[in-house]
Amino acid sequence: MNEAPKLNSFKAGPDEEGRFGIFGGRFVAETLMPLILDLQDEWNKAKSDPTFKADLEKLGAHYIGRPSPLYFAERLTAELGGAKIYFKREELNHTGSHKINNCIGQILLAKRMGKTRIIAETGAGQHGVASATVAARFGLPCVVYMGATDVERQAPNVFRMKLLGAEVKPVTAGSGTLKDAMNEALRDWVTNVDSTYYLIGTAAGPHPYPEMVRDFQSVIGQEAKEQILAAEGRLPDLVIAAVGGGSNAIGIFHPFLDDEGVKIVGVEAGGKGLDGDEHCASITAGSPGVLHGNRTYLLQDGDGQIKEGHSISAGLDYPGIGPEHAWLNDVGRVEYVPIMDHEALEAFQTLTRLEGIIPALEPSHALAEVIKRAPKMGKDEIILMNLSGRGDKDIFTVGKILGMGQ
């Protein structure tokens, strides 16, 4: 790794060019470059502006419902017979996932920049719903690009976006999932640079998005750290989150990166297994490449063409990953592991029945890894998992697979 950040910290990145080691950067068309530089300026100003911080905190408390609770999953812990399991309950946020944390932050920036139109891409629809929500709250028109396949399998979220006044544009190119939606959003942005703010939902894309989204989502880890200290008087032994693009994961990981005793695990979508092409494990089964404005781990063939991933969860169905995760993998700070569709599905049912919480299929992947690890850990050890979204949007998908007829 050239130019690793200060050796005593894993939190120093990115550098001025937006790089985390070899990852990150600004690989975009010239049309977008001036805009990205403007955004970076505005973001730097906002970071040190007390008014911006105050607005963010006020909306966080009264609109999103922060802080989200830290919940000790007593019955799940007893059932697994090992480490104590805590959930950071981001699924209780307004709109039902962690996505709103980032959307509130970015729409405040869009307003500062004088933009009059919001565009967003969405996979599972959680980011689309959160974008449509903040657009309604701030009175801006919003267009959400969503893969046609996802429009079909995440119908409840499509209705929500439409009710919120957003225009949902189905994208049929490629396999009609998140990657294709992002291409189409970038085409819209290139065409409407003057008026439009692109509200990226994950900690990926050209600099400064990965850093900015991480900072907006880090509230998850900051709160969790205080909450676990209050509850247990010490830090957790293990922090786990699911990783698609990686925004909920980087949000909970980042505040713990320099805490040596805390092991950190990111869970990728193993789909139907890593042997074929039907998975989305960019780090475990991919290689470094350049897509959507950054260098990161990608699923690609020997000619550098991007492959279509697969996951039961539309939110993890992306053939790349945020550049900071790519770097954290290479420097060995975070371990990334795959979880298969069927394991996530089992975990989904376990949590629903044991704790009365219906998780989204995305954090169900993290949960499946918790279920594997907790029994092997001591009863005095602590696991902190990011329960990043609720599963209301997934009940039809799951019901169909489980053969629960109408």
Partner: protein, 279 residues
């Protein structure tokens, strides 16, 4: 600047007309047909060839070029084969400059050094890589310039006077002015606005300025060519190819002649450009 590119621009300027730059997607719809198209281009009046390298995620391209890329990839095109197209062409034509155009990832995966070596050997004169702005010059631009391959940069309506020097700094061969903020194949804006933009760029550089994105007809070529040093036509050619294919996307007897006829018409347009400007 490669001697071939410099000579071609100088020769055409001496004829008192703008350069006609023609784009097509390598391997669309198959290797042999696209080789035949490539050979037909200079014969029909094209001065410079832009050879498209297909990419699965062409973020700056409109539907026509997206589909061309998909046809090409489906037909088994790879970067190795695109370089092979250039090499074969160079065996028959030593004078027409070839510019490779596409996205960075296939080049990055191929390996930058290996790519530059093979591109030189295949007779490539320049590169246009859409997702490498000046901020990323260390990736490919600087290594290419060291090997004497032109790195042609896009300037756009959002490239203001403050930014223009940075964009032009390591640009060589020619400057490609993108006529509007948008994707390839959009509608052409008012030629008088373009003329102003071309003048603005020319006040910062000695390089020729070619204008593209939205040029579809001989009349467009004539109007744009009145102020610019060159006119780039891409989507119109790609559309012409698409319209000649069978339902399954295979080439027909009309594919190559269709491109030839279109480019001949465009060539008439650029040849009328300066006459029009003089009127």
């Amino acid at each position: 600047m490669t001697a071939r590119m410099e000579k071609r621009f100088a020769d055409v300027a001496a004829e008192g007309r703008p350069v006609l730059v023609t784009y097509f997607m390598g391997g669309d719809p198959d290797f042999d047909t696209s080789f035949a198209i490539m050979k037909a281009l200079p014969k029909a009046g094209a001065d410079v060839i832009e050879l498209g390298m297909p990419f699965s995620d062409p973020m700056a391209d409109g539907p026509a070029i997206q589909l061309a890329g998909q046809r090409s990839l489906k037909g088994g095109q790879t970067l190795v084969k695109t370089l092979e197209l250039a090499r074969l062409f160079r065996g028959e034509d030593q004078h027409t400059p070839i510019v490779l155009m596409g996205y960075y990832n296939p080049i990055y995966i191929y390996g930058v050094d290996r790519f530059l070596t093979d591109a030189l050997e295949a007779g490539i004169d320049g590169l246009i890589v859409v997702d490498l702005p000046p901020e990323m010059d260390d990736e490919l631009c600087i290594p290419a310039l060291k090997r004497n391959i032109n790195f042609i940069r896009l300037a756009t309506p959002t490239t203001d006077d403050r930014r223009l020097p940075k964009v032009l700094e390591n640009t060589s061969g020619f400057v490609y002015y993108v006529s509007m903020t948008g994707i390839t194949g959009s509608a052409l804006p008012d030629p008088s606005l373009i003329a102003g933009a071309v003048e603005r760029i020319k006040s910062h550089t000695e390089l020729p300025v070619c204008v593209g994105f939205g040029v579809k007809t001989a009349e467009h070529a004539r109007a744009i060519g009145a102020s610019a040093d060159g006119v780039v036509v891409g989507t119109a050619i790609v559309n012409q190819i698409a319209s000649s294919l069978t339902e399954e996307g295979r080439a027909t007897d009309a594919t190559v002649p269709g491109v030839e006829a279109l480019v001949k018409g465009l060539s008439v347009g650029v040849r009328a450009a300066r006459l029009a400007a003089a009127e």
